[in-house]
Point group: C2
DNA sequence: TGTACATCAGTGAACGCGCGTTCACTGATGTAC
DNA sequence: TGTACATCAGTGAACGCGCGTTCACTGATGTAC
């Protein structure tokens, strides 16, 4: 690491942490992230006040990625199919980044993560456009819970099926949407 | 800890670990459990080969508790109401034991936890009794995912509502069941 | 019944480790006059 | 333009800590003869 990149280390650290998680690292330590970034153990303190705030930034980045995937998926289809695609994208994101996904949802309350609300909004808007007004609230909650549940169960390995989970997930989402649009 | 209770320490350790989690302890160490049980750091090794196997036993106990709650809830109502009650019991269990719940679902794959399958069975049976045969698989997955998602989102604090979540959860479950029984 | 011995469930000191964080520092870059 | 100084982004040694686990042990309980 040369010292010439002014302030670039911040982004390098976030990217390194994300990569480590992608590669299966579960418990990230400040030191291990710095090590992987090729930098001294103290260097991160130039950019983050402590370990917590670094991990919170990583999580917020994750929510931005999730938001992007959901928005893309929503654009790729129309009507209820757009909602199904969002659900599939949500599960795919979790499956591709299990450790990051767990980090994101494990540090919810006290931490400020603006991108989290944006991701939620994309899903909620699509559901709101599909559900009759009087059950809008329940519909949003049910959809959010279902896709999150599918994602969580999937990365925790609770589906012992032979692997073609996509079809099963799609069928489950469609079943949910049946109850959502029917009045 | 007197040495007179023959083999009793095993259960004491499991109960102590469960209690610590109930009291908000998040990361249990072997030493902290032993300490809380009033026993030397080495004593647990008389009953568990290592930390992992102790925690796995704690998780399995948790699944037995969850199974019990689901079975009770199922008996407390009939038809689709029994399924709603199971869902509410599932969420209530997670809310009352967040750390334990996370532990249970965080060590899924490689570990042997027989009680896990039993809990799943109670929910699956009820769904199977309600759903038409051709969508049984999708229905079970959708329900399992939804109640699990509601529980997970709830303990991760993603509902910022004023607290009366029970009604919202109930409405979401009912909406799901609408899609489940309608053909 | 008494005695010798094995087993069993615990103790307590010690190990090596990685962690988050502190501290004082270094040397390059930017700025005022 | 040159010089003095401030700032900034990094280093590297050191701290104290709790951890999982090892080792050798102790003393009570159970068992065979």
């Amino acid at each position: 690491m040369t010292t010439s990149r002014r302030g670039g280390l911040r982004d390098v650290l976030l990217a390194t942490a994300a990569r480590m998680m992608e590669e299966g690292e579960v418990e990230l330590s400040l030191r291990s992230i710095a090590r992987a970034a090729g930098v001294s153990a103290m260097a991160p303190y130039r950019h983050f006040s402590d370990k917590e705030s670094l991990l919170t930034a990583v999580a917020d980045n994750g929510f931005a990625m999730l938001h992007d995937r959901l928005a893309r998926a929503d654009r790729a289809a129309v009507g209820r199919e757009a909602l199904v695609e969002q659900g599939m994208a949500y599960v795919a994101f979790a499956a591709a980044n299990p450790a990051l996904f767990r980090l994101m949802f494990g540090r919810s309350r006290e931490c400020e993560m603006p991108a989290s609300g944006a991701a939620y909004g994309v899903l909620a808007n699509r559901v709101a456009a599909l559900a009759p007004e009087e059950r809008r609230g329940a519909a949003i909650l049910a959809c959010w819970a279902t896709v999150h549940g599918l994602a969580t169960l999937s990365i925790d390995g609770r589906f012992q099926g032979p692997g073609n989970d996509d079809d099963a997930n799609r069928a489950a989402l469609n079943l949910l949407i049946d109850g959502l649009v029917v009045r």
